[in-house]
Symmetry: C2
């Protein structure tokens, strides 16, 4: 059964090597920021810069591997209904809402939600890097470099599935930024599946 | 007088609020990876994800501000002869050379050079994020998301100048990756200029 992450909240949980994590957009057009830390050494974390360098692409999908800051494969995308996710931008935060939206009493955003959920695992706010933003639609103009945050391409029930290549701690949110979610805050569902019998992890 | 960073090496130094750092490509087509940490609290560091979010562009140039992981402005680009730099990729490392180039005895790269130079300031390797890669030419195809590492557009004597918005520790290299530097390793020069008399820093 899927677990629900309520609108504008986040959670953290362990994902063991060989398990598959499916992130589900139940209503469509809702972003989920995802982070991964190595369970037994929390200083190792998902790295956008390493991953984009090794894959030579900013848009990642089925078959692509997500690397850590130490150049180890942490996750592999094994299914993807949408094909458009973001790996350029940091989780929305109080500062995002203050600077971009001009909010005077800003929500803590995905950054605050991730920091709170990951704190019991020893993760401090400064350790939170660029997230893999499931379903986030950030097209880049190759000529000018301009980027836009547009409505996600995900429709109700669309999923992306990750295979864990190591024992991980995952941080996951239902994103809190209006612009990223086409103007409304919706839940995110996720589901963890056991390893296939006899699965061999080849990194 | 400019200081020379020898080919395939790196250095670190303090840059005080209001000082200007000019990075010079003396021979042309040579990349310099730049990092900035806050001098009095080394956990605050340059953030590609925050910066790209606030500027809404992946190619930065004169007038653009570079933000930290805590959403403070660390540096502002105040002069730029080239107009094409990279802020997507992490510094080249032993793993880069092993994975991308297939080297069996890989050079420690900009990552190793930065880690060594920044260690006396309390920076550990896991604290090194995506660098601002001066003169690095990484065009992105907006349709497919494909990125390429092409020859820098910088010619002999071209410069980029940064204004420090806080007291910082800077890490700076003459990049060690063949692909990034059009096939040869060259030096980088840099120069620090005192604040303009009466300069007021408005972040």
């Amino acid at each position: 059964m899927p677990v629900e992450i309520a609108p504008r909240t986040g959670t953290a949980f362990e994902l063991k090597q060989g398990e598959r994590l499916t992130v589900i957009d139940p209503l469509g057009e809702q972003v989920a920021d995802l982070l991964a830390f190595r369970r037994d050494d929390i200083g190792e974390v998902l790295s956008s810069g390493r991953t984009l360098d090794y894959t030579s692409r900013i848009y990642l999908t089925t078959g692509d591997k997500l690397y850590s800051n130490r150049s180890n494969v942490m996750l592999e995308i094994v299914a993807d209904d949408v094909g458009r996710h973001d790996f350029l931008l940091t989780p929305c935060s109080r500062d995002t809402f203050r600077i971009i939206y001009g909010d005077t009493e800003p929500h803590q955003g995905c950054f605050g939600n991730l920091a709170a959920a990951l704190a019991p695992y020893g993760v401090t706010p400064d350790m939170i890097p660029v997230a893999f933003n499931c379903f986030m639609n950030v097209p880049v103009n190759g000529e000018t470099g301009e980027l836009k945050v547009l409505a996600p391409l995900s429709r109700a029930g669309d999923v992306i599935t990750f295979l864990a290549m190591d024992d991980l701690v995952i941080g996951l949110t239902a994103c809190s930024a209006l612009q990223s979610n086409n103007g409304s805050f919706k839940p995110i569902h996720y589901q963890i599946e056991a390893p296939y019998p006899g699965l061999a992890i080849i990194k």
